[in-house]
Amino acid sequence: MSEIREVIINNDRLATDEYLVNMGPQHPSTHGVLRLLVRLEGEKVLNIQPHSGYIHSGIEKMCEAITYPQIIHLTDRMDYLSAHMNNEAVALCVEKALQVEVPDRVKYIRTIMDELARLASHQLWWCVFGMDLGALTTFFYGLRDRELILDIFEETCGARMTVSYNTPGGLMFDIHPNFQKRVKDFIKYFRTKLPEYDKLLSGNVILRERTEGIGHLSLNDAIAFGVTGPSGRASGFSCDVRKNQPYSAYPFVKFNEILDFRCDTLARYEVRIKEMYESLNIIEQLIDNIPEGDYAVKMKGVLKLPEGEFYQRVESARGEFGVFIISDGKKNPYRVKFRSPGFSNLFALNKMTKGHKIADLVAIMSTLDLIIPDIDR
């Protein structure tokens, strides 16, 4: 009812052959509880109004009541596929405020973990993208390879997804003795499997037909909407935080920022596939050179940040993730704001989908790689 009322209030009456359809919150292709109010003319999408908030958990407000080391376990649960990066953002922000310099060992391990998490996230995205387009096989192939990364996480961090591994001042544990061997085995294995991904899906005629020229997002629009991450880079927006504002061990490694200027769904697909190769390159450069040293700096029992405002951004698997902390000198933050990539990316969907068919909406939304708890927080 309320949607219909909105339409009438905006003095924007539906034409005779137009209708409003709710896509979600239980629709499988929205990957969670996201509701899209789609205005259709036949099969043509005229307008999309995203309604988020179904899984809003008040994480920003909860952060005001807990101490800084305790925030870590909440950021795991926002964007659960890039938990390492989210944890790292909070850890780096607190370290920046306290002016703590972490040892090189911590930086190297953090970067390796980031890239492994990015690989795992892109693998899951790849399986789900195939599944959204109707190719169920990709789902099993992607998850098969992702399992090996989750095993690495489980052995070193103690959990598969909600890792809570980065803490302010360092890491929760030192790496497991098997860690380096396992990562090297995985890289060797995955280098043989990535070409299989291309054979299976990238060259497939059905995928090409459904993605080429669909969902055009121009560079200006990408910047205007703040679309970051692989989705932004596919529009030629050079927004890689790892390159522009290097943190942790990224200044020590050589890698390319993957850019594509075709701006369509296929470009976003190929940027992610190429990023997996880049992630493997970054890990290969670091894995043999982890310096000796402590895995954490000795921090005080109760962390109190100095009064002021602190911001730290990192590149999560979906784009730029930012943490903004306002401190009033107490042990709890006064206010915490997370800049999540999913939220900005979601609202470019309307621009990208206008005029396309409803089946294209599924493909376009899938390439944005939305994680709903990341949007709602």
């Binding site: 080391p69 095993d151 959990a159 544990f173 054979k199 497939n204 005629v205």
Partner: protein
Amino acid sequence: MKSFIEYIVSIFKGVWTLLVGMKVTAKYFFTPWNHVTQQYPENRDKLVMFERFRGEVIMPHTDNNEHLCTGCGICEINCPNGSIEIISKSIVTPEGKKKRIIDQHIYHLGMCTLCNLCVKACPTGAIVMGQKFEHAVWDRSLLTKVLNQPGSKIAEGVKE
């Protein structure tokens, strides 16, 4: 005419890409023995979790029913969501001194997010993470556990 030839060629190219993809799936279809998943409920006896796996918080006891917990409450302060409650009692030691010791270390597994902060903060290493992960029960009250066993006492020589 040219567009017609392109159309025919595109059909054959399209079918070729499908065949390339099916070659990959066929390879796995005819060599399944390398790619089967874990048979989970059947392999329970042999299933070994990684030693750092966080399944639940436990308090190890020695054979003499002794533990290392002093009841200081640091784990309770460090817990982000109130999963741990420490109930302490005061006793009089044989030397005539008053002393606070632990009565019950209550752990709400249903609220725990397994973030490892309590284990990391514990000054005596009294609590550790257990590997058990099958926590499903029929009654929610079974998820509230008392970690120190009845009749247990603190081990000799634990610095308070």
